[in-house]
């Protein structure tokens, strides 16, 4: 470390190379920090549980043809009866949407009736799942309080025409949001302006259909209503016996077409195992993370390669000086630490500029895209990583330098 002054003096003689390495370190730090941060943001919710038992679960998207409204009631009931009787099926239900599906029904839930033209916001946004008493068993939801729907509570309704003063099951997240004191059971929840629903059950966890950032603040606020919706669209969820999923993926649509041909099950996303639902819901998040990961890895490799390349060149250029120093009594270790220190100094300059760039770049991203502020931990980790990378990259050329024999001093001139 005593060599800092002479190193600085020596660096003045090859300013261009020094500046280039420092610049490269700075830019790499800026990009890697932000890319890693994007990865974290994107992957954070990849592992978020839906609250469902996702194994052995099948989602079928069904559309009636030539039947609408009331006519779809008996058609759907025939389907559900056929599905539930099918060997290999544990239970089945109809539901308007399900976690990770992407589309659904959301509204503000309140503990008090809302007054006309009142602009106050409801305390909690929630999703509405319209389904029946088979939902808990089919989806594998865990009831932590209260009870399931009773068969006599489940009714068919026109989606544009129903009253919400019914028993409902809510997720724990919504229950605690509405009633922080923990006594949500039996309490009212207003899903329309005047008629309250009553909370009769609480499930441990149930995610909303959306995975986007905009749904983050109500990701687990859900309400199950004992309504089956009339109309030509519907989703069936089917729980199969363990090991029967693959067979049922083929058997279920066949069964449905045998029951009634006048329907469409889309070729794309018509029949999906829940594993596929999850994969498709998070595809772009996972892809973005992989892309950023590859970019980071290649970037670090290129920066390291650049440092190796330039340092090797300097070592070659300075063989004679090194020889002279060795002849004057410098040990191999002295030479090695000279180059390591030199790189550390350049790296330090680079990371100082880089940290500023990283933060600036993040501020720009925050103002243009839905991104969070960069945590300084990432910058700190990036700084350490790049300094270590520099030391690692310079090691080989520095070792080579330390092996320059003193006799080099006598060569030419």
């Amino acid at each position: 470390m005593l060599q800092i002054k002479p190193i600085l003096a020596a660096l003045k003689h090859h300013k261009a190379g020094t500046v280039l390495i420092a610049l490269q370190i700075a830019l790499t730090l800026a990009i890697v920090c932000n890319a890693l941060f994007i990865i974290r943001q994107r992957t954070e919710h990849l592992s978020r549980p839906t609250g469902l038992v996702e194994t052995d679960l099948l989602a079928v998207n069904n559309r009636w043809v030539g039947a609408d409204g009331k006519a779809t009631e008996s058609l759907t009931e025939t389907d559900l009866a056929a599905l539930r009787q099918k060997a290999g099926v544990v239970d089945a239900t109809m539901i308007n949407s399900y976690p990770l599906r992407g589309g659904g029904w959301s509204l503000g839930a309140d503990t008090k009736p809302s007054v006309k033209d009142d602009v106050r916001r409801a305390p909690a946004q929630t999703t509405l799942y319209f389904t029946d008493e088979h939902a808990l068993a089919t989806m594998g939801l865990k009831l932590v309080g209260g009870r399931n729907f009773r068969p006599e509570e489940v009714r068919w309704v026109d989606p544009r025409d129903f009253e919400t003063n019914v028993p409902v099951i809510v997720s724990q997240a919504l229950a605690s949001k509405l009633y922080p004191d923990g006594n949500a059971l039996g309490k009212p929840v207003y899903l329309s302006s005047t008629k309250p629903a009553t909370i009769v059950g609480i499930v441990e966890r149930l995610q909303v259909p959306w995975t986007g950032n905009w749904a983050t603040n109500f990701a687990e606020n859900s309400v199950l209503l004992p309504f089956l919706l009339e109309g030509s669209f519907g989703n069936y969820l089917v729980r199969t016996r363990p090991g029967e999923l693959a067979r049922m993926t083929k058997a279920v649509p066949t069964l449905l077409f045998e029951t009634n041909r006048m329907r469409v099950i889309p070729e794309e996303r018509g029949v999906r195992t829940f594993a596929e639902v999850r994969e498709q819901a998070y595809r772009s998040d996972r892809g973005m993370a992989i892309l950023m990961g590859v970019v980071c890895a290649v970037l670090l490799a290129i920066t390291a390669a650049g440092i190796v390349g330039l340092t090797s060149f300097w070592v070659g250029q300075r063989r004679k000086q090194i020889g002279v120093r060795r002849a004057l009594g410098a040990t191999r270790h002295d030479i090695l630490s000279y180059f390591l220190t030199e790189n550390l100094l350049i790296g330090a300059g680079g990371v100082i500029v880089g940290a500023a760039l990283a933060i600036g770049m993040n501020l720009w991203l925050v103002s243009h895209f839905e991104m969070e502020r960069l945590s300084l931990l990432y910058v700190a980790a990036g700084v350490i990583a790049l300094l270590l990378l520099g030391q690692g990259a310079v090691l080989a050329p520095a070792m080579k330098a330390s092996r320059v024999p003193p006799v080099e001093a006598t060569r030419s001139v």
């Binding site: 490269q24 800026a30 990009i31 025409d161 041909r261 595809r283 390669a305 650049g306 330039l310």
Partner: protein, 435 residues
């Protein structure tokens, strides 16, 4: 001389294989990353109807109170009430209200299963407005719109499926149990982004297979297959929904000149003011008229993934270039003695410039070749990051191949300027003496 320098360049690639390989890889990776992300960006930000994009306008009007609007902008869709008022007023050269519907097509052949078709309900004007080409027949008439006629226009693919590609004009098609008479078959029409309805499609999707009159769809109470947003309970039933302030209708007008647009905008403001006087709107007129490009912008059709990854890739390319400057500097300066000799033998600085820039271009060319291979590989995996609908638009076409090579060579030559300048500064006498 060029050929000779090019040969020298090729030879020097082999002289420092490690340095050269590093440079070629840096340029290759940098260029490939930029090209892959650029191809996606290009696909998502392209103008789907360039010949008319400044004559077509999406109409917006705030029928919701300011607190319910996002950033004070009028919503991207409108209520049935306003859309019908605009259609009746008939203030533009052409106009249409539109919304996506999803009827099932029931094949005449009883053995075939029904299919769903990507469908829209709109007015006959839309075909001419959006420059939709016809294979057979044509659009339905305004009289048919007014008569709520049971007519339809189908796309080429659906025509192939149902009629084996024959001219089906005059034949009927059964949708959800109702017969429609076909007035025309559209030829391939697949604008991307789907500018006329980015609200419900996100901007990308399969071509539209079927069109029916808006008036007929409303008669049959076909619900929207897209978004329906209400800021208040619409009440029960279909008619209540139509009368409500729920927003779900898209609205387009064709205004050929700037003056037409200004006139329309004034009329629109006047309409909003009238609604305010009538007590329906309790706020000042808030309207917008956006042409195709503005509309796509407003609806943020270019996905943030595309912009961020393009940005990161350009940063990546920049780093690769900084890296290349350093490595070229090392490579060139190592040959200071050779330059000294050449200079002493009478080569001018200009000659040195030529030689080294051409040598750099050779490195760039090699980097471009690697970049091309990597871009090709990358194209195969675009589907990992972007939705399939977008991924299929990113293709390695001739222009992208050319661009890849040009960017690689140009970037490398640019990066070579400083190292070359340093090389040209080598003093002949000094080098001769020291060796």
């Amino acid at each position: 001389m060029f050929a000779y320098y090019f040969q020298l360049g090729l030879r020097s690639l082999r002289r420092n294989p490690l340095l050269t390989a590093l440079m070629v890889m840096a340029i290759g990776f940098g260029v490939a990353a930029s090209m892959i992300t650029y191809s996606v960006f290009r696909a998502t930000s392209s103008n789907p109807i360039p010949q008319k994009s400044d004559e077509l306008f999406a109409v917006q009007i705030a029928n919701w109170k300011p607190e319910d609007l996002e950033q004070g902008e009028p919503p991207s869709a409108m209520s049935y009430t306003d859309a019908m008022a605009f259609m009746r007023a008939h203030k533009a050269k052409r106009q249409t209200a539109l919304y996506p519907v999803s009827p099932s097509v029931i094949p005449a052949d009883g053995n075939r299963l029904p299919i769903t078709a990507n469908s829209y309900a709109w007015y006959g004007d839309a075909f001419a407005m959006f420059d939709i080409p016809f294979l057979y027949g044509g659009a339905w008439s305004q009289a048919q719109d007014d008569a709520h006629a049971s007519v339809a226009v189908i796309g080429r693919e659906l025509n192939d499926k149902l009629f084996n590609g024959a001219n089906s004009v005059g034949k009927t098609i059964n949708l959800d149990g109702h017969d429609y008479r076909i007035t025309g078959v559209t030829d391939a029409w697949d604008p991307q982004p789907l500018f006329f309805d980015p609200v419900n499609t996100g901007g990308f999707g399969d071509p539209i297979a079927l069109f029916i009159p808006f008036t007929r769809a409303i008669d049959l109470q076909m619900p929207t297959a897209g978004n329906n947003n209400c800021n208040a309970d619409p009440g029960n039933g279909w008619d209540a929904w139509l009368r409500s302030e729920c927003i779900w209708v898209g609205y387009w007008v064709e205004l050929p000149t700037r003056a037409d647009a200004d006139t329309y905008r004034r009329w629109l403001t006047g309409y909003a003011a009238e609604q305010q006087r009538a007590g329906r709107f309790k706020w000042a007129p808030n309207v917008a008229l956006r042409d195709v490009t503005d509309w796509l912008d407003f609806n943020k059709v270019v996905p943030p993934e595309s912009k961020i990854s393009l940005m990161v890739s350009l940063g990546f390319l920049l780093i690769c270039l900084v890296n290349t400057i350093g490595l070229l500097l090392a490579k060139f300066m190592r040959r200071a003695p050779e330059i000294g000799v050449r200079r002493a033998l009478g080569a001018s600085r200009r000659e040195v410039y030529m030689q080294f820039l051409i040598e750099a271009a050779t490195v760039g060319l090699a980097g471009g070749a690697l970049g091309l291979v990597l871009t090709g590989l990358g194209m195969l995996s675009v589907g990992w990051v972007f939705d399939e609908q977008i991924a299929r638009l990113a293709t390695l076409d001739v222009s992208l191949v050319a661009l890849t090579v040009v960017v690689a060579v140009a970037a490398t030559v640019l990066a070579a300027f400083y190292p070359t300048w340093r090389a040209a500064q080598v003093q002949p006498a000094w080098q001769l003496k020291s060796n």
